[in-house]
Amino acid sequence: MKFTLRIWRQRGPNERGGFVTYPVDDVSPDMSFLEMLDGLNQRLIVAGEEPVAFEHDCREGICGSCSLVIDGVPHGPERGVTTCQLYMRRFANGATITIEPWRAKAFPIIRDLVVDRRALDRIMQAGGYISVNTGGAVDGNTLLIGKEEAETAMDAASCIGCGACVAACKNASAMLFVAAKVSHLAMLPQGKPERTRRVMAMVRAMEREGFGSCGNQYECEAVCPKHVSVRFIAMLNREYLRASIMGTRIPARSDAPHGESY
């Protein structure tokens, strides 16, 4: 198969980027999209040019590294998969394929198609955890969790943190990501003690990173490789409303259970 690739090239965060067109032939329909790019890069290296930088790791759809907007859709034309699970047989021979990075203020470009997604980590650091010490946990069966609740929590927890939701959103909002994280922990009894503080802290962290707000358009759900439902955004809104009514203001950061003892 043959394709014409229009790829966004940008040498650094503060440099001007632009599209460069590369013809590729000799593409097998059994190649994954990333293997097709590997092939292009091998050719560029031998020709003394710099290869196209793109993020990838597990190549089986679970690590969340790969992050390409292909023909205007994050992770490309197939639903429910990551870029690394996309195969060339999905494309028409001879097609022109446009490849861009995730675009959002909160995801600055590092090089070419690689963006900095640490904003998502910082949201998690603001409250996406349960504060329990290692050791001293009670027996796992002491907490009874109904199968349905456990399954719904798992649905939310299946988010792989790739950021496609942000990339797809008209407003570059991270609501689906935050909603998945908040809902996962809010569903479970272990997560309940900190739920008020958590949702407020994570929403505020999201604001600080410069993500937009939710427009309820549900593009995020439509591109999510793990089919995380927008119903979790409703749940996040509910958690937020509940936390607002419960009256916690900005979380006191001094509530960590350690530190004062010595």
């Binding site: 229009r6 203020k105 707000s213 809104n237 900005i250």
Partner: protein, 236 residues
Amino acid sequence: MAVVNGEEREEMNRANEFVDSVGSKLVASLAGLGLAGFVIFHMLGNLQVFEGSDAINGYASFLHDMPILLWTARAGLLTAAAVHVGLTIRLALRNRRGRPVPYALRRYRAASVASRTMALTGSLLLAFIIFHLLHLTVGVIDPSAPDGMDVQGRLDVYGKIVHAFRNPLYVGIYVAGQLALGLHLSHAISSAFQTWGIEHAALDRLFKLAGPGVALFVVLGNLAIIFAVFLGWLHP
């Protein structure tokens, strides 16, 4: 022990001063729902035009006879509109900053036309409402409009309506206004369920249909009046 440095604390305070986007949306949608409620009420009230001039003029004078209620309602509507417009403009500006470099190519999968044009339909709607107030409430747009009282000495609302919608220019403007209203409402109302965290496996379809349903209801009601006059079914 976690240490919060000065810069961070300042940022936290700043975040605290203003309502964040999730809160803004809650408030904006609340105000919007208030406005939507009025729009439904307004349409239903106006349908009395089909019962003749006596009914609608009586209805108007009934409302005008309670000035405290009337002005409270007007003040409430004005506040709701100001809050809704103010917050949504702020959100929209913020959202625009969320993606400084646009995509060269963008394909949508789920977003409806209505949802993608909320800012546009909202702005058109605002312009239309101002026009509508100046036109039929204050009465400064059309100098040829009858500015009189009916035979019983009540405000002749019926006469004004009939006069206005015989003119194709006004019909055109009002139909465009209704289009903006319909699109805006169809996304807004379904969206409000989501914003308020109301989701339910079995009822989700209903919530999704609520927006287009209400929008269609309001728009059809209003268009019925306009076209009834324009096509000559309602006589002066």
